[in-house]
């Protein structure tokens, strides 16, 4: 096992600190890289969360002038880009890196040095995006954060409408982090295919590995179009290209297709690893094996394929003809079938079990309820005519936060509580964990349940202010109150991480009485990350 390879001395003092940092910066070990991914993502999560809070404060009442329109537009662009590319992606890569080799009995990832490259190139992409903050707004906005929205529709990104370099920071940041994502996907794919220990056949692999295998395949297929689109945009902006140049017969719709043929598989890139976490946690705390393992694998592969044929449901309002709209209604509704099968199999796993409501399980149960609602609002949005009313409104914002926060982030929180003992040798505190869970549940539902309503009442997304009398005020106030609870939950979580890291209960081997390889042997305190600070 890879953990045996770590033979650094146990004593740490100030004089040892620099070499330790150097070790972390140059590491090729999949567990350390996994932790670095997670650390990077948590820092980005705080930043992205602050950006969201600024928007909710601005919208707390009509005609508010807490921030300027420019700042608001930058906030939603940075929030979306940060949360997708520099929070969600590194979180799922972090868990996949740390756990996949352990679960399949591999020594490390197939390409350890490529792994290191992937992490740092992604972090570099994030640094480029945020470097945009260090320019002034003068000189035709030579600096300034990007303000074109996270899907950056053409032709708003052309030099005509977006002079200066703010859009270039966005393009380069996303482009470069994409290289890292593709490299990581190749690494995960190769590791799972080629590095399994003897006896670990594909049919015996934990579902975690299966879901990450399909995720990796999707990343490889989906990132290509995004990278191509970013290159086309750069060519348009600096080499006189006309891909999206409306003055020279270019096509704004072309960008939409390229972006969403990345963008929709991306949703499944994020949600499959969340399913992976749920598929490990729910059986263990139900004290039952996974119900319908082969069906779960089949449903995952089906989701992978169908997810590549649904992208234009983001574009129902762009004026595609009736045949095209009808086709994408069919594919989009079809994907709810394998997704539903997954929910039913988790339910059947719990059925007849002995449910233990430890914190990881609480988060996964929250995920099941919330993902059910997210899936059903997804079906509403899939009905193209209904979508003509709902798209571009706050309803759609509520829907995808239900998926990404209520679904994905809840699973990832569950994953933290479940695997922290493996990563640190100590347990996270259960009482703080439950407080963390309930605060987050309350905050989540206050914010995102009530966010559906202004959408139904005609409130478009991405507006920095609104007039009174539209019936939107009260709902936006409740949404903002939910933010306070979510922030409190994140603070409790951070405190729990820190406190348990130094003072948590010693985990010992297999604290959850689980049966997968990675939890068989918990890192002893002197062998985990703990030794560097002690």
């Amino acid at each position: 096992m890879a953990s045996d390879a770590m033979t650094l001395p146990r004593t740490a003092s100030a004089s040892r600190l620099l070499p330790e940092i150097r070790t972390w910066l140059t590491t090729v070990d999949h567990k350390r890289l996994g932790l670095l991914y997670i650390l990077f993502a948590l820092v980005s999560l705080i930043i992205g969360g602050l950006e969201a809070s600024i928007m909710r404060l601005q919208l707390i009442r009509p005609n508010n002038d807490f921030v300027s329109p420019e700042l608001f537009n930058r906030m939603f662009t940075m929030h979306g880009t940060t949360m997708i590319f520099f929070v969600a992606m590194p979180l799922i890569f972090g868990f996949a890196n740390y756990l996949t080799p352990l679960m399949i009995g591999a020594r490390d990832m197939a390409f350890p040095r490529l792994n290191t490259f992937s992490l740092w190139i992604m972090a570099f992409g994030g640094a480029i995006l945020y470097a945009s903050l260090f320019g002034g707004s003068s000189l035709l906005q030579a600096g300034g954060a990007p303000d074109v929205g996270w899907f950056a529709y053409a032709p708003l990104t052309s030099r005509l409408f977006s002079p200066g370099h703010s859009t270039d920071f966005w393009t380069l940041g996303v482009l470069i982090s994409g290289f890292g994502s593709v490299a990581t996907a190749i690494n995960i794919l190769t590791t799972i295919i080629c590095s399994r220990c003897p006896g670990m056949t594909l049919g015996r692999m934990p579902l975690f590995a299966w879901l990450n295998l399909v995720m990796a395949g999707l990343v490889i297929l989906a990132l290509g179009p995004l990278t191509a689109a970013q290159f086309m945009l750069l060519i348009d902006r600096y080499l006189g290209g006309h891909f999206f140049d409306i003055m020279a017969g270019g096509s704004a719709v072309l960008w939409m297709h390229f972006f969403w043929i990345f963008g929709h598989p991306e949703v499944y890139v994020l949600v499959l690893p969340a399913f992976a976490i749920a598929s490990e946690i729910i059986p263990v705390f139900s004290r039952k094996v996974m119900f319908g393992y082969p069906v779960m694998v089949g449903a995952t592969v089906a989701i992978g394929f169908i997810s590549m044929s649904v992208w234009a449901h983001h574009m129902f309002a762009i004026g595609m003809n009736a045949n095209a709209n009808t086709f994408f209604v069919l594919t989009t509704m079809t994907i709810s079938v394998p997704t539903g099968i997954k929910i039913f199999n988790w339910l059947a796993t719990m059925w007849g079990g002995k449910l233990q409501f430890k914190t990881p399980m609480l988060f996964c149960i929250g995920f099941l309820f919330q993902f059910l609602v997210a899936g059903l609002t997804g079906v509403m949005l899939a009905a193209a005519p209904f979508n003509w009313q709902l798209t571009g409104s706050y309803f759609v914002v509520a829907h995808f936060h239900y998926v990404i926060v209520g679904g994905i982030l809840f699973c990832i929180f569950g994953g933290f509580y479940y695997w922290f003992p493996k990563m640190s040798g100590r347990m996270l505190d259960e009482r703080l964990g439950k407080l963390n869970f309930w605060l987050f549940v309350i905050g989540f539902h206050l914010t995102f349940d009530f966010m559906h309503v202004p959408g139904i009442l005609g409130m478009p997304r991405r507006i920095y202010t609104y007039e009174a009398g539209r019936g939107w005020e009260g709902w936006n106030l409740i949404v903002a109150i939910g933010v306070v609870f979510q922030a409190a939950a994140i603070l409790v979580f951070a405190w729990n991480l820190l406190r348990s890291y130094f003072k948590g209960k010693i985990a010992g081997n297999d604290p959850w009485d689980a049966w997968t390889l990675e939890l068989r042997f918990i890192a002893s305190l002197g062998n985990g990350i703990g030794r560097y600070c002690r």
Binding site: V289, V337, A348, L372
Partner: protein, 337 residues
């Protein structure tokens, strides 16, 4: 769990919007055929998803309560079940059937709305999206206006739908008047079509629903649905040339000798500016700055003096006019009825 809340407050929204009290822009309070067909479909979709929600939520809640670990017989693991082909078949086939029903219902509404053909007497409108206002043209009627669309009411005995061609002069925009129809985007080099046939007179609010730049939030839209006679009178007034009175010749001179004409058209004055709204009948409109401010002399003067005081980031520049010039040009604009 409070996921219930989502379905609990939906009826509240439906009910209050049916009374018209909750919001002037509720999608559940339709007054035009496309919005009505969508509303009908949405009721079906909501009913089906609500049934699924109650069933699955109930099963989940039951499992959580019923199968929680009890303090007695702690040492025995529950019976291990690896799967069941029959059950898996059931929860694959039933969802497929539900999907089929919802798909067919959607396909029908798509065809009804998208494939509708304009009758001979349909009114044709062209709407051109600009950063951050709406140019509105009635090609057959020799009328050009901005931000406030006038259409005649369409009764079922004599339906007079209005067909709209959607164009963009710059970035993407989206035409959304929730009580009349769903969204259709305005995309450069990509003309789109949509239609409305309001059954009730009144003013219907909407706004741009596709992020189009700094003042996307203040790109509001109003649709005035009038009786046929009112609409015909409005068309007749709008197709005249601009009023010319010598009382405001100083103001007109300010208008003509500064940069106003580069962007704005006033029929009867030389110049053909296309970047800003046609001002020939400015005073016939209730609002300025794309619905952001009421069209009062005070607001008009404030707007001409410094547009960014009302709408920061608006593309109209402040022309640095003196107070006297501002008074004169405002007085002139007020004669454009």
């Amino acid at each position: 769990m409070s996921a219930w809340a989502f379905y609990l407050f939906l009826p509240a929204v439906l009910g209050s919007s049916a009374h018209g009290s909750s919001s002037p822009t509720s999608i559940f309070d339709p007054v035009s055929t496309p919005a009505r067909s969508i509303f009908g479909l949405s009721l079906l979709v909501l009913a089906v998803t609500a049934i699924i929600f109650v069933a699955v939520f109930g099963l989940l809640a039951y499992a959580v309560v019923k199968f929680r670990q009890r303090t007695v017989d702690n040492d025995r693991e529950p019976p291990q079940v690896y799967g069941s082909t029959q059950i898996e078949m059931a929860w694959t086939i039933i969802p497929i059937l539900i999907v089929l029903v919802l798909f067919l219902a959607s396909a029908r509404v798509i065809a009804d709305i998208q494939d509708a053909k304009p009758p001979h007497d349909a009114v044709e409108i062209t709407v051109v999206g600009h950063q951050y206002w709406w140019e509105i043209r009635y090609p057959g009627l020799n009328v050009v206006t901005a931000n406030e669309i006038h259409v005649s009411v369409s009764d079922s005995a004599h339906p007079t739908p209005t067909f709209v061609t959607l164009l963009s002069a710059d970035t993407d925009h989206s035409f959304w008047v929730p009580r009349l129809a769903g969204k259709t985007d305005l995309i450069p080099n990509h003309p789109n079509r949509m239609w409305i046939d309001p059954h009730k007179t009144g003013i219907y609010l909407g706004q741009c629903a596709q992020y189009c730049g700094i003042q996307h939030a203040k790109m509001l839209l109003r649709v005035y649905v009038q009786t046929r006679a009112e609409f015909d009178r409005w068309v007749e007034e709008q197709s005249r040339s601009a009023a010319m009175t010598n009382a405001v010749s100083r103001g007109r001179a300010v208008f003509e000798t500064n940069a106003c004409l580069d962007c704005h058209t006033v029929k009867g004055i030389a110049g053909n500016g296309q970047f800003g709204p046609d001002l020939t009948h400015l005073m016939s409109r209730d609002t300025i700055a794309s619905g952001v401010a009421l069209n009062t002399p005070k607001n008009l003067r404030k707007w001409v003096k410094d547009p960014s005081s009302i709408k920061p980031g608006a593309t109209m520049p402040a022309l640095q006019l003196s107070d006297g010039q501002l008074n004169d040009v405002t007085a002139y604009l007020e004669t454009l009825r």
